[in-house]
């Protein structure tokens, strides 16, 4: 039974990781925590839902429109707000990104209603220890992993990637070296949000039910845990952190049940949050942070 949970955790965790990479990239470059993070995941889910339900588009294909939507939202976010707040106190950027998230959620509510949406897309299952594991849960993880590898390639093997890493390390030094820092900012915000919506699409394929405008909240909180665990600003950290948190999430419930807790589900979520606090005390820079 435990291997099933671990596999399940790794699958879900890789998608979480992809989602968090968006968050951590934006932080790394701009020192801004996008508190409205989950709302973009929600948008991604809705993109998949609508394109599948209305046009019978293969859910995996919807990844591309979802990414593009995220890209545009990211550019919007940057040009309207973040650009002006580059020198502002942290408080301002936290509240503004938060506000953006709320606008997205409320608009979704007005446009699409607060009904819980869902669809059915089945590709069959593989069996682990006799328990079926739907393939629609496996493919998103593989796609997430590929995207992360692609990102790694860009960040570490291209000139653009070097420029980005330079900005993360030392923005002023990067300017001196001739890097167009503002362009990098824009790119990273757009890319970060784009990856977030793309992961939202993947999560939509994974879960398929329960899509509603406020579904982002729990993902935001999870993303925070993962980002802190992995180290804010480190994409690798975000991904590995995602895997760890995914596994912990899936395995803690049965473990709590074994321990006889009255409400193992609730305790499992509690554990996730305590994890943040523990990390912040012991090693605030996370696993891979500087």
């Amino acid at each position: 039974m435990l291997p099933y949970y671990i596999v399940s955790g790794l699958l879900l965790g890789s998608i979480y990781g992809l989602a968090t990479i968006g968050l951590t990239l934006i932080f790394g470059v701009l020192r801004v925590i996008n508190v409205g993070h989950g709302a973009y995941i929600m948008i991604g889910m809705y993109v998949t839902f609508w394109l599948f339900t209305l046009y019978s588009l293969n859910p995996f294909v919807t990844l591309i429109p979802a990414f593009l939507v995220g890209l545009s939202l990211g550019m919007l976010l940057f040009y309207t707000a973040l650009k002006r707040l580059l020198r502002a106190p942290e408080l301002s950027t936290l509240i503004v990104t938060f506000g953006f998230g709320i606008i997205l959620e409320e608009s979704a509510k007005v446009l699409w209603g607060s009904d819980y949406r869902g669809f059915v897309y089945d590709l069959g299952s593989v069996y682990i220890q006799g328990i079926p594991l739907p393939l629609v849960r496996m493919w998103p993880a593989i796609i997430a992993l590929s995207l992360v590898l692609a990102l790694y390639f860009v960040l570490y093997r291209t000139r653009l990637g070097t420029a980005v890493r330079a900005v993360i390390q030392d923005p002023e030094g990067a300017i001196i070296c001739g890097v167009n820092v503002e362009m990098i900012y824009l790119l990273m915000v757009a890319l970060g949000i784009g990856l977030t919506t793309a992961s939202g699409a993947l999560l939509g394929i994974y879960h398929q039910q329960g899509i509603n405008p406020y579904i982002g909240h729990l993902y935001t909180l999870r993303a925070f845990v993962i980002a802190v665990l992995g180290g804010l600003g480190s994409p690798i950290g975000a991904f590995i952190g995602g895997l760890i948190v995914g596994v912990i999430e899936q395995t803690s419930v049965p473990l709590f049940t074994l321990a006889g807790a009255p409400n193992p589900f609730g305790l499992s979520v509690f554990l996730t949050f305590m994890l943040i606090l523990v990390i912040l005390i012991l090693r605030p820079q996370g696993l891979f942070g500087r």
Binding site: P262, S268, F273
Partner: protein, 334 residues
């Protein structure tokens, strides 16, 4: 800054007027569009803003988990009352015990969280505090504390302890008076802080914490002080409010909406000002009340852009902007 008498008397007079109106309405019924309910809401938001202002406004740190204090206040008071009821004691024991629990719980939480989180800066602090709030909520559910997700039902015990009439009084006018009381207490504390060294130190922390540290300011101590004060006041607000709710569930008590509203109230009014929360409390409360029937479901959609615009264009809030652009007001409004 030293506060003049006008600075403190004007807000207090305003409170007196609002409370007076509320008491009047209790006897006469609604006066035109002004109902007792509207004033209750205004009182709540003013109190919330004043309480949160002590921390967010004065230190510049965002406690995204602030609602945990309010929730603890609710649970503290409610569980105190229920426990007294089950022990067969008269109602006042319950309220007294509830009050003690509220203060104790919030103080402990403030110290525990403050100890861990206040060593962190900006974004990390925000994350840590969100985690506390959510963690506490799931802990309550996970360990079945205070009824866990079954909820804590106070209305039954309250009716049995105080009778139907007493319960009705408690849930309306008495609760409102208590809320005004919390608002007044928070106002007084803010005034004291602004007038003394502590306020000065907090301002230094807000402007440039590193410089303050170098200058010898014990930043940790002052931050914890502000955090605890703000938290305890939040808890008292929750306790006062708990009489109205009649049953408490973790998902409602720990609802992040309260935090959002607290942030809006402080930033809109003017972070760190004395009168700011009053202005924003009245504005926000009135808007929310009148919009509720007219445009249900649109409130947040309207407030969020307003908040963003305020932050970008006028980060010092309404009162702050007034003081900057209308220097004559500075003598009267702080």
């Amino acid at each position: 800054m030293t506060l003049s008498r006008a600075h403190t008397l004007i807000p207090i007079t305003l409170y007196a007027i609002l409370l007076g109106l509320r008491l009047l309405i209790e006897i006469t019924g609604p006066l035109g569009p002004i109902t007792g309910q509207l004033l209750t809401l205004l009182a709540f938001y003013i109190a919330l803003g004043q309480a949160f202002n002590i921390f967010l406004g004065m230190t510049g740190y965002v406690d995204f988990g602030y609602v945990a204090f309010i929730a603890l206040g609710m649970y503290g008071m409610a569980s105190g009352v229920v426990r007294a009821y089950e022990a067969g004691l008269p109602g006042y024991y319950g309220i007294a015990f509830g009050f003690i629990q509220t203060v104790a719980f919030t103080a402990l939480l403030a110290l525990a969280v403050g100890g861990i989180a206040l060593r962190l800066r900006g974004a990390y602090f925000a994350i840590a505090t969100i985690s506390v709030n959510e963690g506490l909520r799931y802990l309550v559910e996970g360990l079945d504390l205070w009824g866990g997700s079954r909820g804590l039902i106070v209305s039954g015990p309250l009716i049995e302890l105080f009778g139907s009439e007493g319960f009705s009084l408690l849930a309306t006018i008495i609760s409102d008076i208590l809320v005004f009381g919390v608002a007044l207490l928070a106002l007084v504390v803010t005034a004291i802080l602004l007038n003394t060294r502590i306020g000065y130190a907090l301002k230094a922390i807000r402007e440039d914490e590193d410089a303050a540290k170098i200058m010898g300011v014990n930043t940790t101590m002052y931050k914890i002080l502000a955090f605890a004060t703000s938290g305890i006041l939040g808890g008292l607000l929750g306790a006062a409010w708990s009489f109205k709710i009649a049953s408490i569930y973790p998902s409602d008590a720990f609802n992040i909406l309260y935090t959002i509203e607290a942030i809006v109230l402080v930033m809109l009014g003017g972070a760190g000002t004395l009168a700011g929360p009053i202005v924003s409390g009245i504005l926000y409360g009135a808007l929310k009340y009148f919009l509720a029937g007219v445009l249900p479901g649109f409130q947040l959609l309207i407030f969020a852009p307003i908040l963003i615009t305020v932050i970008i264009a006028a980060p010092e809030g309404i009162v702050g902007a007034l003081r900057t652009y209308l220097p004559t007001i500075r003598r009267f409004i702080a």
